[in-house]
């Protein structure tokens, strides 16, 4: 039993970790792109921004369980199967990327409007603007947003568990719901709560440290 709990915990952590990683790696650049596009005044940028904005809103409005179903063909294509942790990572990441992008865009928007003027007046390239101003200046904000993302993903793994992803969510459903094992339900939920608390604690601490 303990072995099974441990395995489920590791699966949950595995799914959370990799989907966070992918969401971060794709969402941050997308967020930067959105921010930069939104600040440009030319027509083309405005159209591209509206397009991305629309797509992101669509993804964010689809309930996760339905997204999993819609993504079955893609999941099959990428992971080869639709059950197991790796398959879950596909849909978890795709749900998380737009979320992360929007969170990042918001963090950049909370910087002073004049930051862009300052950067251009110093003759910065776009790359220098991103690496020297945007990211360092909004890092505390990005960290707290990533914390929100991770916690969201942990709950999403449980939903994915319902459709064959494995992990603590699956175990809670299998034992707790289908076999009426209240003790195992309690254990899995406790572990989920502990993980969430730890992530929140670490995120808050880090973000506070970086805030100057």
């Amino acid at each position: 039993m303990i072995e099974e709990l441990l395995k489920a915990t590791i699966e949950t952590l595995y799914m959370t970790f990799f989907s966070t990683l992918i969401a971060f790696m794709a969402g941050l650049p997308l967020g930067i792109l959105l921010y930069l596009l939104s600040k440009k005044k030319d027509h083309a940028s405005k159209i591209i921004y509206t397009f991305f904005d629309f797509i992101i809103n669509i993804f964010r409005s689809i309930p996760f369980i339905i997204l999993i179903i819609l993504l079955i063909p893609l999941t099959k294509l990428i992971a080869g199967t639709i059950i197991g942790a790796n398959s879950a990572i596909v849909s978890l990441s795709i749900a998380a990327i737009p979320f992360m992008a929007r969170l990042c865009e918001n963090s950049f928007n909370s910087l002073s409007h004049e930051m862009l003027d300052t950067a251009s007046s110093m003759g910065m390239t776009t790359w220098q603007l991103i690496t020297k101003v945007l990211i360092p200046e909004s890092l505390p904000e990005i960290i707290s947003n990533t914390t929100i993302l991770i916690i969201n993903l942990i709950t999403y793994t449980a939903i994915a568990g319902a459709v064959g992803a494995g992990g603590l969510g699956a175990m809670a459903i299998n034992y707790g719901y289908q076999r009426f094992r209240a003790d195992i339900l309690l254990y899995t939920v406790s572990i989920l709560v502990i993980i969430t608390q730890l992530v929140q604690f670490a995120g808050t601490l880090l973000s506070k440290r970086l805030r100057r």
Partner: protein
């Protein structure tokens, strides 16, 4: 040298913010741009390095037409025009030292440290170099912003309302710093302000902007001469002049009223009394004031001269001996 030729700026079709602006900076001067809120000062400042592209007109830096440059060349030009923004816009994630070093990092310069330390010393911030921006006072932030602006040794320094958020004491210190930086580093400086005090204390020349047009451009003391002859009255009210008294005297037409301006050397010699004796005219001082324009004394006198056969000879010689002299006539003041 920065030169604008016939610059116009429209924000929307019918929002004509800058109208036919043409002027050129002079080497190593401090030029003040003054005007009421909404006159277009900040917009004008932003056109200098094309943060705001003008709708029409040409802008030159050292005879290079920057309005025609490609992105990459424009970046190089912008590095020669430093801006100190009204809100400082310093990076909170960096210390004072790191903020100042930023401009040099962009160039991948070596020996950043001694250069930055040297500038911090000049602006009087050596002891605060490791502080983060949120730990600084307004004056210290302004010093940091100025240090960041001048560390690259730019050709032009632009300051947008550098003292509007500071108390009078700190204002004074910051203005002294601007003077010092301008003199020490020989950077042509343009200051946008709505405070006449700033103009008086540090500016060699003034550009008065009203509703997007240049109403006056010239040496600071000339502005004050113009000002008193009412051109700028909407902007700058001379509270000490008893206008009622002067108006009454003008209406009676029993005596002549003269407005006399002393500037530079003429402030030191007793012209009035000498000439009064010589022509035996009696003069009565209605108003007198001496102030300082960038440490040069500038005096204004309003005299009442009683009717006298020698009056016109007196006036002629007076005009030769003072910087500016005009007869006040009724209807105006």
């Amino acid at each position: 040298m920065l030169r604008l030729e016939d610059v116009n700026l429209f924000y929307q079709k019918n929002n004509h913010v800058l109208k036919n602006i043409s002027f050129e900076t002079q080497k190593e001067e401090i030029l003040g741009i003054i005007g009421l809120s909404g006159a277009g000062k900040s917009s004008l400042l932003k056109t200098f390095n094309l943060l705001q592209r003008p709708s029409s007109g040409k802008i030159f830096l050292d005879n290079i037409l920057i309005t025609d440059l490609k992105k990459k060349e424009l970046r190089q030009v912008r590095k020669q025009i430093s801006v100190v923004f009204q809100n400082y816009n310093l990076l909170n994630s960096r210390t004072v030292f790191e903020n100042v070093a930023l401009a040099l990092e962009l160039e991948h310069q070596k020996f950043i440290e001694p250069t930055v330390l040297n500038v911090l010393e000049k602006v009087g911030l050596s002891h605060r170099k490791d502080a983060y921006i949120s730990q600084l006072s307004g004056g210290e932030k302004q010093r940091t912003a100025i240090a960041r602006a001048v560390v690259t040794n730019p050709k032009i320094l632009l300051l947008d309302e550098p003292t509007s958020a500071l108390d009078p004491k700190t204002t004074e210190k910051i203005l002294d710093l601007v003077l010092y930086v301008n003199k020490e580093l020989g950077i042509t400086t343009i200051v946008v302000t709505h405070e006449m005090e700033v103009i008086k204390r540090i500016c060699d020349r003034v550009l008065y902007l009203k509703d997007g047009t240049i109403k006056f451009l010239g040496q600071t003391h000339r502005l004050f001469i113009e000002k008193d002859s009412q051109i700028l009255e909407d902007f700058y009210e001379e509270i000490n002049i008893d206008k009622e008294l002067i108006n009454q005297k003008l209406e009676k037409k029993e005596s002549h009223l003269l407005r006399i301006v002393f500037w530079g050397s003429s402030t030191h010699c007793p012209v009035i009394s000498t000439l009064s004796l010589k022509y035996s005219v009696t003069s009565n001082i209605l108003y007198g004031k001496i102030e300082h324009l960038k440490n040069n004394p500038y005096g204004t006198l309003i005299l009442e001269i009683s009717e006298n056969p020698n009056y016109s000879d007196f006036l002629n010689e007076l005009k030769k001996n003072v910087y500016f002299c005009e007869e006040l006539t009724g209807g105006g003041k």
